[in-house]
């Protein structure tokens, strides 16, 4: 069985700074994998290279058997890779429903018209925004904007979902709702790469983790195992705690 998402020897430099160095990993279909690491370790850069927001300087990204390396974002999206943004980015002049419709209309499989309207409602209901398609996004609360961000990503009917700190900034009860939602997706067989700082979420959702530090992968394996390795603790907390 081929990997759902495979990265080989990804490189990225910004001027003299090597932001991502020789990063390789693979996700099997249906797997939820955590991509961890302290701030500035290169996680978001990796996400951006997968989704096409940043061109890589070397290496290869494959989705199933398609090479998507250096494809522009819209083509990556059409190849079944959807993402959320670290800070929610709902489109303010569109309604909640239109935000979702956008991904349906231009995503992986292109839907339009009456069929698409029904699907918008279905996606909104899935994230807990059922019946609220006509609302202006400015009127939504933070958790609801997070939900909308998720619904918009799901509406492109991706095979791989990149969640960039999607759970950040939620209060404890909202966090629980968020985790349940991701778990629900997991149950449906979605392949998810989760960049996350909230360990509670990582432990609850990820069977496997990849830890980056200073642009390199420093640990990879089962979540419990990886999180207890001295190198990982050191990367996060500094030498004294190792």
């Amino acid at each position: 069985m081929s990997a759902a998402l495979q990265l080989d020897n990804m490189h990225k430099r910004f001027g003299g700074l090597v932001a991502v160095k020789d990063v390789s990993f693979a996700l099997t279909p249906g797997e939820v994998v955590g991509l961890l690491g302290p701030n500035g370790s290169g996680k978001t850069t990796v996400m951006n290279m997968i989704s096409g927001a940043l061109p890589s300087d070397g290496g290869r990204v494959r989705v199933s058997d398609t090479d998507i390396t250096r494809m522009p974002p819209h083509r990556v999206a059409r190849h079944g890779v959807a993402r959320t943004f670290q800070l929610v980015r709902p489109l303010p002049t569109l309604t909640a429903g239109e935000n979702v419709l956008l991904s349906l209309a231009f995503g992986h499989k292109r839907h339009w018209g009456r069929e698409a309207q029904a699907m918008v409602e279905e996606k909104l209901a899935f994230v807990g925004l059922g019946g609220r398609g006509n609302e202006r996004v400015g009127n939504l609360t933070y958790i609801d904007q997070k939900r909308l961000e998720m619904a918009r990503a799901l509406a492109s009917e991706p095979e791989i979902l990149l969640l960039d700190e999607w759970l950040a900034g939620l209060n404890p009860s909202e966090l629980k709702i968020g985790i349940d939602l991701v778990r629900h997706l997991q149950g449906q067989g979605m392949t998810i790469l989760l960049v996350e700082h909230i360990m509670e979420a990582v432990r609850a959702l990820c069977s496997r983790c990849i830890v980056m530090s200073a642009g390199e992968v420093i640990a990879e394996g089962g979540t419990q195992d990886v999180l207890s390795r001295p190198a990982v603790i050191k990367a996060y907390l500094g030498d004294d705690h190792a």
């Binding site: 989704s51 522009p72 819209h74 002049t93 956008l102 231009f106 492109s156």
Partner: protein
């Protein structure tokens, strides 16, 4: 749905407007002609600049290219071919300009388009002086004011129909998303560059045709007449006053402002630019979304 009921009404108004020259004086036909020209310009401008918020000051570059094409070709080609050539030239220029500039952000795009209008004017002037040795050309076409007016009315109708049609398709949704957040639009699967380019070309082609159709009105054409930057600014202000994000916005802005500008240019010819500038500032400060949005806000505010 409201738009369905709006169709017979719009049709009736169109018929009345088309019949008007048969009943009014030549002077008023001329006024209607000028007004229809600006309605077309403002609507065509807003087609691209409204949703994407790329403020273009290149309106007069395309307008002038249209008029000049007619001036150059009117004695060598049949009229429909002259118009087709103008449209083609406008589209090609828009394609080249679009490919090279639509990656420019915000204010850089504004400055570039303003520069483009000047560049085109200077290039045409240079060419006429140094290559063809003619400064200024005559347009001899057997058209009266009403003939030009009918053509413009048809073009205005087509422009509004295109604007209405785009708003109904996924292209319209894509445009609006691009205006909101290009990055999100791209990650949703929209080929942002292609959409912007397509709309820029459609908009520029319609603007070029507006210039081409109006060319016979002047009889004598020279660069300083048809490449007058005031055309770009007036188009912009009209579209913004009505609301560049709405179908009827540019029309609603263009009609009163056209009459105001006519009156101002006759009554205060020396202060016209100052008043134009002040008006621009007032509109941007008071109703950046345009009159239609303002009215909607007030009505919503009244209900709650």
């Amino acid at each position: 749905m409201k738009p369905i009921h709006a169709f017979p009404l719009a049709g009736a108004i169109l018929v009345a407007l088309a019949a008007a020259p048969l009943f009014v004086s030549d002077y008023w036909t001329g006024v209607l002609l000028g007004m229809t020209g600006y309605v077309t310009l403002a609507t065509a401008w807003a087609l691209f600049s409204g949703p994407t918020r790329y403020v273009s000051l290149a309106t007069v570059a395309f307008f002038g290219v249209g008029a000049y094409t007619v001036a150059v070709l009117n004695e060598t080609l049949p009229y429909p071919l002259v118009l087709a050539s103008a449209a083609g030239i406008g589209a090609v220029i828009a394609l080249v300009v679009g490919l090279s500039t639509l990656r420019l952000a915000g204010v850089y795009f504004v400055i570039f388009t303003f520069g483009l209008a000047e560049l085109v004017r200077q290039t045409v002037s240079w060419w006429e002086v140094n290559v063809t040795y003619t400064m200024g050309r005559y347009v001899f076409l057997p058209f009266e004011g009403r003939h030009i007016y009918w053509q413009l009315l048809a073009l205005a109708t087509v422009t509004l129909l295109i604007s209405w049609g785009i708003g109904r398709t996924r292209l319209g949704l894509a445009l609006q998303a691009i205006g909101d957040d290009e990055t999100v639009a791209a990650h949703a699967g929209i080929d942002v560059t292609r959409v912007k380019l397509l709309l820029f070309v459609i908009s520029a082609t319609l603007i070029t045709l507006t210039g081409a159709i109006q060319a016979p009105r002047w009889t004598y054409i020279e660069p300083s007449i048809v490449f007058n930057p005031t055309v770009s600014f007036m188009t912009l202000i009209m579209a913004l006053l009505g609301g560049a994000m709405r179908l009827w916005g540019p029309l609603v802005g263009a009609i009163p402002l056209f009459f105001l500008f006519e009156w101002l240019s006759v009554s205060f010819p020396d202060h016209f630019s100052i008043i134009l500038g002040l008006l621009f500032i007032l509109i941007v400060f008071w109703m950046p979304q345009g009159v239609l949005a303002k009215i909607e806000d007030l009505r919503k505010g009244g209900r709650t």
